[in-house]
Amino acid sequence: MALPKYTEPHYRIWHYFYLTICTFVFFFLIAPLFVIFPLSFNAEEFLVFSDGMKRLDPDAFSLRWYQDMVYGTKNPWGLAAKNSFIIAIFATLGSVLLGTVAALGLSSRHMPYKGIIMATLISPMIVPLIISGVAIFFFMAKVGLAATHTGIILAHIVLGTPFVVITVTATLSGFDHSVTRAASSLGSDPVNTFMKITLPLILPGVISGGLFAFVTSFDEVVVVLFLAGLDNTTIPIQMWTGLREQLSPTILAVATCLIVLSTLILVTAELLRRRSERIRGISR
């Protein structure tokens, strides 16, 4: 940001001070993530930069923790990853299905009691996770679904739907309803109209809501802590246990993989957001 030539000196100083603060905040936000990368390639067992690493000595770096993550003895990560993906995928499907249908109803101007219903549907996102965890645990224990995949998937559908509802209603807010009316006047039945007209238009919103639901489930630990048995351990649970007991570099290897995964998701979400804005004609 170049300042105009006539700027007075003390505003100039203030401006540079402002830029310094911004730099510091951006650094504060992003730098902690980059500590994980180099340390996960540490050849030693300690979570500090060894002298060799500071000298960029190739011997100080190794892939042994990645090896340990994949092939280690009594390794929990394989099962955890499998469980995490199964749970997250089914929870995402459930959230997207229920959330999208509900968002269609909520965006209709005929919807009665819109405010209170919307507030209820969003509440799992607002209520502290520990309370959701306790409540859902009591329920699942009562119906015999504690320590089962089904129980955890249902719990994650509860936590994931608010994101789908929010993103899809946001996409629908700019939706031109005359196109669906045009479709019906041309003889299309409602299901056909939805599949051929509405869905392709709101798809970016649906997918980005799905991504939110996926990340929520994939990263969720509080509710799973209450619900999971030994067979339902997930990546976050393993990380939680590891961080509480002993911070090993293997956890950093897993963390690096998770950062790569979240970068991929971020890129997808950003592309979708831009596409959606273009479709709705809000492009900048």
């Binding site: 940001m1 505003y11 402002y18 830029l19 603060i21 911004c22 905040v25 951006f26 504060f28 936000l29 992003i30 902690p32 993530l33 994980i36 979570l47 500090v48 229920l98 959330g99 249908v101 509900a102 109803g105 909520l106 209709s108 005929h110 919807m111 009665p112 919307m118 507030a119 549907l121 509440s123 607002i126 209520v127 502290p128 520990i130 309370i131 959701s132 306790v134 409540a135 009591f138 329920f139 009562k142 249902l154 509860v158 929010i166 993103t167 209603t169 946001a170 990340v215 990263d219 630990v221 976050p236 990380m239 961080l243 509480r244 963390a255 950062i259 979240s262 971020l266 979400a269 950003e270």
Partner: protein, 417 residues
């Protein structure tokens, strides 16, 4: 003209007004049917269980049903001195039945919540009871342990008589109902929960303030920079937002440890000496630093979306009308960002007040919050009704803020990403 002909009819001969009403009703039902599956699902798996928590937090029928004879005999007891033989006898038979059914352990746990030391004397009583002779149970029970002759324990027992109680809520704010039925505070050295409530609110408040102070400048920068730069910088905000909470907490654990990079840096610039590295983790500092960084994107995003809509020409107009840049900012720009500030602060405060994972990992003993206490009672002491009561007290606070948020911002205006 008569009123009959005045009405406009549709082709079916039904008045238009009626026909429209019918169509409106049909549309309403259609819209509602679309929402119904999710609403029903949430009511069954979420709203109803939270109601169940409320029931659990006041439900005390278990103890009431375990000692029916005792509580009946206690009705006449005034609670001033040790109860009569009648109560002791009734208690003996109730407890004998529980020992036979092997459910006495549950009673011991429950009574120990009420008064510490109950568990051991109940276990001792169970062992000695086998040799009891018939009659004069008062003497025999009192002979088992001297605490059985202490009226305090019998008063504690009497307090568990009602089937429904609000005592767990009182316990949550360090109060209890004493023998005279008055609500009083527990002794000063045992007021643990009040400290936690105050600390939770304090941490949530200061994290919100810190987030606001850090988010405002960068949101402003993001909103005023040309698109190609701001998109790049936006990644710095969005990448942490999408990254696993545990990963971010882990990175803070590495940074803040005593041999960690932050401490190395402090030593390097000479702020602290090498052998006197400050403890920055497992205390409040750790909680503050990690929570601020983790919640910062939730402040930046609402601020950014509001600032994006403010036209830069307004600031130019303010300056051209004679205001200094500071005056123009304070009188023109800042008031326009207040909706964003409100949304961001409420969101961060709501999220911070119920935080569990980060305080549990980096908070240590002095940095844990009310959520950690709830988890502790769910997992360790297994006092589920107390955990429910504390949870609902926290929930009430959150719902009040949520209601304000809904009034001010509207839940349908929440923006993600």
């Amino acid at each position: 003209m008569s009123s009959e002909t005045n009405k406009i009819l549709t082709t079916d001969g039904i008045p238009l007004e009626e026909s429209l009403k019918k169509a409106e009703k049909k549309n309403k039902i259609k819209a509602f049917l679309l929402v119904a599956p999710l609403l029903l699902f949430l009511i069954i798996t979420y709203v109803f269980p939270i109601g169940d928590m409320l029931f659990r937090s006041v439900d005390d029928r278990m103890v009431t049903n375990m000692l029916p004879k005792t509580f009946k005999a206690m009705e006449k007891w005034d609670g001033k001195e040790l109860p009569d033989e009648e109560v002791f006898e009734a208690f003996y038979f109730d407890y004998k039945k529980l020992v036979e059914e092997k459910t006495f352990g549950k009673l011991a746990t429950q009574l120990n919540y009420e008064k510490n030391g109950f568990k051991s004397i109940l276990k001792k009583l169970k062992r000695k009871m086998k040799k009891f002779e018939e009659g004069n149970y008062k003497e025999q029970i009192m002979g088992v342990h001297k605490r059985w002759a202490n009226v305090e324990y019998w008063r504690a027992l009497k307090r568990r008589t009602p089937a429904y109680t609000y005592s767990k809520y009182l316990k949550g704010v360090d109060m209890y109902e004493n023998e005279d039925g008055k609500i009083v505070q527990v002794p000063e050295d045992r007021r643990v929960h009040k400290i936690l409530w105050v600390r939770t609110i304090e941490v949530a408040f200061f994290v919100t303030v810190l987030c606001f102070l850090m988010a405002y400048p960068i949101a402003h920068l993001l909103a005023t920079l040309p698109m190609k730069y701001s998109n790049l910088l936006m990644i710095c905000v969005l990448l942490p937002f999408w990254t696993s909470l545990l990963v971010r907490t882990a990175s803070w654990m590495i940074l803040l440890q005593q041999q960690g990079i932050v401490n190395d840096f402090f030593v390097w610039i000479g702020l602290v000496s090498d052998d006197n590295r400050p403890e920055m983790m497992y205390n409040k500092t750790g909680t503050y630093v990690a929570m601020t960084q983790i919640l910062l994107p939730f402040m930046v995003l609402p601020l950014y979306s509001v600032m994006k809509t403010i036209s830069p020409s307004l600031m130019r107009a303010g300056k051209s009308l004679g205001g200094t840049p500071f005056v123009a900012f304070w009188k023109v720009y800042f008031p326009l960002t207040i909706p964003g500030i409100g949304a961001g602060c409420l969101l961060v405060f709501i999220l911070a007040i119920g935080y569990y994972i980060t305080p549990a990992l980096v908070g240590g003993a002095s940095g844990t919050l009310i959520s950690n206490q709830i988890a502790y009672h769910m997992k360790s002491t297994l006092d589920w009704s107390f955990a429910s009561a504390m949870g609902l007290m926290l929930l009430t606070g959150v719902l009040v803020i949520y209601w304000i948020y809904n009034k001010l911002v509207g839940v349908d205006n929440i923006k993600l990403g």
